[in-house]
């Protein structure tokens, strides 16, 4: 299970053509650490990392803020049609993304948003996805009513209750949503593939795919492809180790109850 990771790291430290020595050396001698600065500076992967981070951050903020707002409305506020709207929202999770893909693409094309980061960020300011609303709503439902009642008697508005009671008490669930959202945008491939078409706008995922296909830079780059893969995987592994419990709870919670 772990061997592919070692193989990945080992190849990423090899020099040009050393990857094609048989039998393969597990520990490259000498290790070519310069592969990493090379992909980040000589090849434009530094730029691709910045692009990916920009998109991820802009989408993630919207996702976390609007998903918690909507989840709060569906969990606590009473308004006509609430449960029907929530039900339909949940049902949309069953719809394959391919069905809405083309009209949404045409919409963004009409708005002249193609080759900008807007199609990859703005939609996440609209509730951030049924899955996250559902997850947060389930969590909000477990928060005792008494706190809010006391706040309402003191004259608190829904906005105050949301920011002062619900959000602070839901940090574990919001952490899960943040982590999952980060992964979603960091890993996204189809979105950037469709909406971004010039080299200066690429994300890491797209840059990696272009590099894997191997034509653009006109030389064999297996060792550099592996270095980029390591750069792409690393942040995720780090997040996983720091937030292991929240992470596993998230998978399990959404797996069994989702």
């Amino acid at each position: 299970m772990f061997l592919p990771f070692l193989w990945l790291i080992s190849t990423s430290l090899k020099g040009p053509f050393e990857a094609y020595i048989f039998p393969p050396e597990w520990i490259p001698n000498p290790p070519h650490w310069e592969n990493y600065p090379e992909v980040l500076t000589k090849l434009p992967f530094g730029l691709y990392v910045r692009n990916t981070l920009t998109i991820t951050l802009a989408a993630l903020v919207g996702q976390v803020v609007t998903a918690s707002m909507c989840a709060y409305a569906f969990a606590r506020l009473r308004f006509p049609g609430r449960d029907a709207i929530f039900g339909i929202k949940l049902a949309t999770m069953m719809l394959p993304s391919a069905v809405t893909l083309i009209p949404v693409y045409i919409l963004f094309k009409e708005l002249r948003w193609i080759n900008t980061f807007l199609p990859l960020t703005v939609p996440f300011w609209f509730g951030g996805g049924a899955f996250y609303i559902f997850l947060l709503r389930q969590f909000f439902l477990t928060i005792p009513m008494e706190l809010e009642e006391a706040a309402i008697i003191d004259g608190a508005s829904p906005f105050t209750i949301f920011t002062r009671i619900m959000v602070p008490l839901s940090r574990p669930a919001i952490t899960v949503v943040t982590i999952f959202g980060f992964l979603q945008h960091w890993n996204d491939f189809l979105g950037p593939l469709i909406y971004l078409n010039t080299a200066d706008k690429r994300t890491i995922a797209i840059g990696l795919a272009v590099m894997t296909a191997g034509l653009e830079w006109g030389r064999d780059m297996t060792h550099l492809v592996m270095a980029v893969s390591v750069i792409m995987i690393m942040p995720i592994i780090v997040i996983f180790f720091f937030a292991q419990r929240a992470f596993i709870q998230g998978v399990v919670l959404t797996g069994i109850k989702g």
Binding site: M1, P4, F5, L8, A19, Y20, F22, P23, M69, C70, Y72, A73, L77, R78, F79, R82, I85, K89, T92, M94, L95, P96, A98, V99, T100, L101, I102, P103, V104, I106, L107, P123, F126, G127, G128, L141, I152, P158, F162, L183, W186, F189, I194, A205, L208, A209, V210, T212, A213, G214, L215, M226, M232, I233, I236, I237, I248, V251, G255, I256
Partner: protein, 317 residues
């Protein structure tokens, strides 16, 4: 259902704030409501209409009736081919991953020292982004220098060309998929830890061996979770795209999808129609057919679940 009774008890309290609260309710839910209108409801309607048209983005859509669907069903051999590839992949990967993930979860459920380390190691591959996964496995599966073939070459066998022989393409992708089943393992593991111990104890008192316990306690108690993973497996495997795209697309994104199009998955073909050939109407029809196939399979699975799925609380939700 604890929730509904709780709010019911509080209704008089909330009723006093009726109008104002309804207003803030709509305000708070506005992103989701607008999002559904802009990014789901309108696109679904538009895509349904487009599926009956000929539309190349440049000129306005021309209504052609059922022509797209007729073409799918009769003359388009690539459609049939991509569907076959997808079905073949699903038929291999769904049962294999259900069984493998279950067995791994059983192993990870042992009370052994250091088991947490094993769990993390099994889970890590699930974290690898699909683009990096594809890049890694394209190299792992390289016929002459990849790690997978290394033992075979060392023993003097002719190395199989995973990515160059059309008959090995789908099995190779199934192998890649199996490497990353950590999420299903985790879900099974949570389920296994929820099986009440007293059931095993009762079975032991009745003289059951491990097989009886597995067959008559573990499997029935886990059937709802197996069912969940089955449904997720169907939904996921019918939408495979990125893995095949990155592994098999030479620069520029055109050409065949793998040797003799052996990796032309359904969504891959859909993507090509939409964004390489700009046949938007035809691609919309493909999307609707995909939706109907997934829907039909899911309904079928739900129909048959009474035969084998056991729910603790009686009837399923």
């Amino acid at each position: 259902m604890q929730h509904s009774s709780a709010t019911a008890a509080h209704r008089p309290f909330y009723a006093r704030l009726g109008f104002q609260q309804a207003l803030s309710g709509y305000l708070f839910a506005a992103p989701a409501i607008l999002g559904m209108l802009f990014f789901t409801a309108a696109p679904v309607a538009a895509s349904f209409y487009l599926s009956f048209t000929n539309y190349d983005i440049v000129s306005p859509p021309a209504f052609t009736g059922l022509q797209n669907y007729v073409k799918l069903a009769t003359t388009d051999t690539l459609f049939r081919h991509s569907l076959t590839v997808t079905l073949y992949y699903s038929a291999l990967s769904i049962p294999l991953s259900l069984v493998t993930a279950f067995l791994v979860a059983m192993l990870m459920n042992q009370k052994v020292r250091g088991i947490v380390v094993y769990r993390v190691v099994w889970y890590l591959p699930a974290l690898v982004p699909v683009a990096a996964n594809a890049a890694l496995w394209r190299w792992m599966l390289n016929r002459d220098f990849g790690l997978i073939n290394f033992p075979l070459i060392a023993l003097g066998f002719a190395p199989p060309g995973w990515l160059v022989e059309s008959s090995l393409t789908v099995p190779a992708l199934v192998m890649v998929h199996l490497w990353g089943i950590g999420n299903s393992v985790l879900i099974y593991l949570a389920g296994l830890q929820g099986v009440p111990q007293h059931l095993y104890e009762a079975a032991e008192i009745d003289g059951s061996n491990w097989w009886h316990k597995f067959r008559h306690v573990t499997i029935p108690m886990m059937s709802a979770i197996i069912f969940f993973n089955l449904i997720m497996g169907i939904i996921g495997s019918f939408q495979v795209f990125t893995l095949a795209y990155v592994i098999f697309t030479p620069g520029g994104g055109t050409g065949t999808a793998g040797p003799e199009n052996a990796a032309l998955f359904y969504v891959f073909y859909l993507y090509r129609n939409a964004f390489q050939y700009f046949k938007m109407g035809y691609a919309a029809a493909l999307a609707w057919v995909l939706f109907l196939i997934i829907l039909a399979l899911t309904i079928l699975m739900f129909r048959f679940q009474n035969r084998w799925v056991y729910y603790e609380g009686g009837k399923p939700r």
